[in-house]
């Protein structure tokens, strides 16, 4: 989780990822942020987040991103 927080904070230092739970629904993260975060997550955890995983429920909070990463790591 710490590593994910680091990636998120590096991508968007202005957002408090410990509190936000509507990152996509409220358009806090834009498409460029998503692409850069996904790239970093793929590298850091050796996973492959593909376009099918880009659902709001997978990216609305740091917690949701963590769960997605965990799920993909188990599948890998």
């Amino acid at each position: 989780m710490d590593e994910i927080m680091e990636i998120l904070e590096e991508a968007r230092p202005d957002v408090d990822f410990t509190k936000e739970t509507r990152l996509i629904d409220d358009e806090i993260l834009d498409s460029f942020d998503i692409i850069s975060i996904v790239g970093e997550l793929n590298d850091a955890f050796d996973i492959e987040i593909n376009v099918n995983d880009l659902l709001p429920e997978n990216f609305n909070s740091a917690e949701a991103i963590f769960e997605l990463v965990e799920k993909l790591r188990q599948e890998a």
Partner: protein
């Protein structure tokens, strides 16, 4: 049947009465019958064949993909039940084999439907260009003269979005072809969108709705506001705008006159397109159905990128989900990003590949508007601007810090909004004329002279509008601005009005209807002009 005509209002009233008179489980059938009637009455009935092809192929394609997915799961389950569970590798193999088959269906259905759109929309354009390149090979007129079915860009994008979502496993395919037909052809969205999403729209269309008086009032008010924006503001503005953009060469307009003309064209577009959306959304509200919002105060954008997040939102989101993400998340793209990060550092290595994907998106957005070189230029121009937004974001932030400019101060925000307005207006030069070379001539004429005296020498009084109309339009621009500021703060005026007492509400209705009838612009035979976006 134009949505600006009395027959449409009559159609809407009859449909509304039947909709709430029948049992709830039959309401969707009323909407489907209404949509078919509307579609047939709107244009050439022969064009219906194209929407039927799209509905049938997309429905079957999505169903087949669903079946294959179910089959794949069953194969794995059967093996497990037979006491011979598959290994992870075997599961992967089975998944890959089935994915290959679903992908084939996806690609074929996409090719067929985008193929129809491409041929009908761009066939003439391609032929014209081929003929221009090889004039001797063709006779004088070899145009294809294809008919363009109503709403083809909108329903093709909407149904293909659905197909891709089913392929991605976002939701299951629709099982009833008539339900799917209604989703694809729901009449309000046939004129100029929005490009709806199945997961947000389909259930609303299928399920029954009880009459909701407050929502009904909100719908009526939104429709009135839409008619007002379209017929009183946009169509009046159009007279002045077309005098400038259509007659600049023969009348010798230059400099500020032309720029103001194109600036007002932007206001006209906004009132026209968002007014049409208000009519459509209001009409849907009458049936208890919400659609994908298409505007969010676009002229309050601080950057061109933000403008595109607020203008024609449903198209922007479509492009993001079905073009930008697949490109930006592809393997070759990830490789490019990695290489660039190593070579030119983290920040630019990260943004340049995304810029490249966004460049393709904007080129497509331009071409989506129509088959003409001016739209290619329009798309490229916006691609460059939005890329520049990203590329210079860090530089901009750093410079502001050095110059001690507060990025959140009102003056800085206003400066950013004005800058965005000017940049977007220059883009509109390629949107408001009939051909790219005219746009370029107009651009040249804009920089041919500086003439601030046009505001006082009566130039603007000779553009087809009376003096009071010009003052009225200025007032209306202020009104549009105020409504946008109120909306931006999260207050919806029609919701407040709809909850007022009956006397207040009827005063609002009467004033609005009176103004639309008295001040609306009517063409020959009292038919208001078509919507600009209807042509897309």
């Amino acid at each position: 049947m134009s949505i600006l005509s009395l027959p449409f209002l009559g159609f809407l009233a009859i449909l509304f009465i039947i909709y709430y008179a029948v049992p709830k489980r039959f309401q969707w059938i009323v909407l489907l019958a209404g949509s078919i009637l509307f579609y047939v009455s709107c244009g050439d009935w022969k064009a219906c064949i194209f929407i039927l092809v799209t509905i049938i192929t997309t429905f079957l394609g999505a169903r087949r993909m669903d079946q294959l997915n179910a089959e794949q799961k069953q194969v794995v389950l059967d093996a497990k039940n037979a006491g011979n569970p598959m290994s992870r590798e075997q599961k992967k193999e089975i998944k890959a084999a089935y994915q290959k088959r679903t992908k084939r269906i996806l690609v074929l259905t996409l090719l067929l439907n985008f193929g129809i759109l491409a041929v009908l929309k761009y066939g003439n354009f391609v032929m014209e260009n081929v003929r221009a390149l090889f004039p001797s090979a063709f006779q004088a007129d070899t145009g294809l003269h294809l008919l363009l079915p109503l709403g083809i860009s909108f329903y093709t994008f909407q149904t293909m979005g659905y197909l891709i979502d089913v392929y991605r496993g976002k939701y299951q395919a629709e099982k009833n072809i008539l339900h799917f037909g209604l989703f694809a052809s729901f009449f309000p969205q046939m004129i100029q969108g929005p490009i709806g999403r199945y997961d947000l729209l389909a259930d609303q269309l299928k399920s029954g709705h009880s009459f909701d008086a407050v929502r009904f009032r909100q719908g009526i008010m939104r429709m009135l506001w839409g008619y007002f924006k379209k017929m009183v503001i946009a169509d009046r503005m159009a007279i002045m705008v077309s005098s400038i953009t259509g007659g600049f060469a023969e009348n010798g307009y230059t400099g500020i006159t032309i720029f103001v003309g194109v600036l007002l064209y932007g206001v006209q577009m906004y009132a026209d397109f968002s007014g049409g959306m208000d009519i459509i959304f209001g009409a849907s509200d009458l049936f208890g159905i919400s659609m994908y919002e298409n505007f969010r105060q676009p002229y309050m954008s601080r950057t061109v990128s933000e403008f595109w997040q607020r203008w024609h939102i449903s198209l922007g989101h479509w492009m993001r989900d079905y073009v930008f993400y697949p490109i930006a998340l592809s393997k070759s793209f990830a490789k490019m990003q990695k290489n660039m990060k190593k070579k030119i550092g983290n920040y630019y290595g990260k943004v340049i590949p995304s810029m490249f994907a966004s460049f393709i998106v904007f080129l497509l957005v331009g071409i989506w508007h129509g088959a003409a070189w001016r739209y290619v230029i329009y798309g490229t121009y916006h691609a460059i601007l939005t890329s520049a937004d990203t590329f210079f974001e860090k530089f901009g932030n750093d410079s502001r810090r050095v110059l001690h400019i507060d990025g959140e101060s009102v003056s800085w925000k206003l400066f950013q909004m004005a800058r965005t307005l000017v940049l977007v207006t220059f883009g509109r030069y390629f949107d408001c004329t009939q051909a790219a070379h005219i746009s370029l001539q107009m651009l040249k004429a804009t920089f041919a002279g500086f003439n601030p005296w046009v505001f006082t020498d009566g130039t603007f009084l000779n553009l087809g509008l009376k003096e009071w109309e010009i003052f009225f339009l200025i007032l209306m621009i202020v009104l549009l601005g105020i409504v946008d500021v109120v909306n931006e703060r999260g207050t919806k005026l029609r919701m407040i009005f709809a909850e007022q007492g009956i006397v207040f509400r009827w005063i609002i209705y009467f004033i609005a209807i009176f103004l639309i009838i008295r001040l609306g612009i009517y063409g020959p035979g009292y038919n208001a002009s078509d919507f600009i976006y209807q042509g897309f």
